[in-house]
Symmetry: C2
Subunit: 211 residues, 2 copies
DNA sequence: TGTCAAGATTGCGCGTCGTGCCAGGACAGG
DNA sequence: CCTGTCCTGGCACGACGCGCAATCTTGACA
């Protein structure tokens, strides 16, 4: 599939990565808002115009290939067992896609940037709308289909990603909280309601243990 | 309290309202993105610079006095009965604050703009972070307090406002769905989990069967 | 009523983001 | 080697948002 990266493609990938690397380095030392696109391209050795050919906005350089991520989630959803309850399928697909992350240092830097910059955060939720739409589409038939099912699916998908945003925030504020625990909390909440997370360990522990 | 509007203040209010009115009119006929600040201020008869003294960004003209809204929610939360379950108190406070709306025509226009423009939507969720923080603060002790309670409260608050965003979207897509019904759906979901909204009318009865 | 400080409006200029356009250089295939 | 295609670079432009200083309006006090 990716057997022949075709020099041209390799150059593209290299340029893109150089821009990203330069940007992350600058963001790390000065913060997102204090870095201009001009400075990024100077550090990366490309032109102002080239930057925008690879990234639609300055914020987008923080998030890797978004289109690819959407495709991965779609594939992961399609690969789940139709016999399982729908929310469980969504949970599995989410865990499967966000799992690997081939560039751990950028992952944590990304989380830090999202937490620190409102603009980056705004773009993050904007991009998340695509995931939300995918999940809602997947969930609609499970809630009876038709207009009503679609409406309920939209609400559930919104709650799910809202809970995940809250979980990210919780991790940022609570160093002792492991990210997987926070994500599990968010998923449990949407499945079983606030009561499921109101008790510290009992119910939630059994639930996540089965996973 | 507001007995003496003090001519100066009245002038301020009038100017502000003229800008808002001009903006909403232009947005209605051309859409948010196609209208420039320059055109708004020309229609309102004020200068470019004055606009930004009233509204931090172009998006903010869509949302009335945000600071006031935050204050209202804070007051509404404080006014709820401490004996009631915490999420019920939050529900009451939310319903109480978003209820009146002294400018119905702008309310529906606002909803339309949020639905149509990604930038406005992004600003909307950005402003909602303030409400979210308020709710999380209120909820934290109910989830055990301390770091753990605060973390769980953040997740629940995130889910709540995510569900409300989903509800707004559902209303936009489903003309037959009354807004109050959608909001109730969102609140029920966060309280009782997805099972609570999986069946059209019945309350949360059997939890494993439907899933 | 006259004067004066505080507040409001305005114009000017600037930095930054993001885009359209077009010329020039690198790559793929004959 | 030649030719079409892709990529890059440079230029100019519109729009957003802010800092600053000058001007005008309001309110308070003598």
């Amino acid at each position: 599939m990716d057997a022949l990266p075709s020099l041209r493609q390799r150059n593209r990938d290299r340029t893109r990565d150089e821009i990203e690397a330069a940007a992350f380095a600058l963001f790390a030392e000065r913060g997102f808002e204090a870095v201009t696109v001009e400075q990024i391209v100077a550090a990366a050795g490309v032109s102002h115009r080239t930057f925008y050919r690879y990234f639609p906005t300055k914020e987008d350089v923080v998030f890797g290939e978004h289109g690819e991520a959407v495709t991965r989630l779609r594939a992961a959803l399609a690969a789940t067992d139709p016999a399982e309850p729908p929310l469980r399928r969504v949970r599995r697909a989410l865990l499967a896609t966000q799992q690997p992350g081939r560039r751990p240092e950028r992952e944590v830097a990304r989380a830090r940037l999202i937490d620190a910059s409102p603009a980056v955060r705004a773009r993050s939720t904007q991009l998340a709308e695509d995931f939300e739409a995918l999940v809602a589409e997947q969930l609609a038939p499970a809630f009876g289909g038709g207009e009503g099912g679609r409406a309920r699916a939209l609400v559930v998908a919104g709650a799910l990603f809202g809970a995940l945003r809250g979980a990210r925030r919780a991790v940022a504020v609570t160093p002792a909280l492991p990210p997987e625990r926070a994500v599990a909390l968010a998923l449990d909440l949407v499945e079983h309601g606030a009561v499921a997370v109101s008790e510290p360990e009992s119910a939630a522990a059994g639930d996540t243990g089965a996973e």
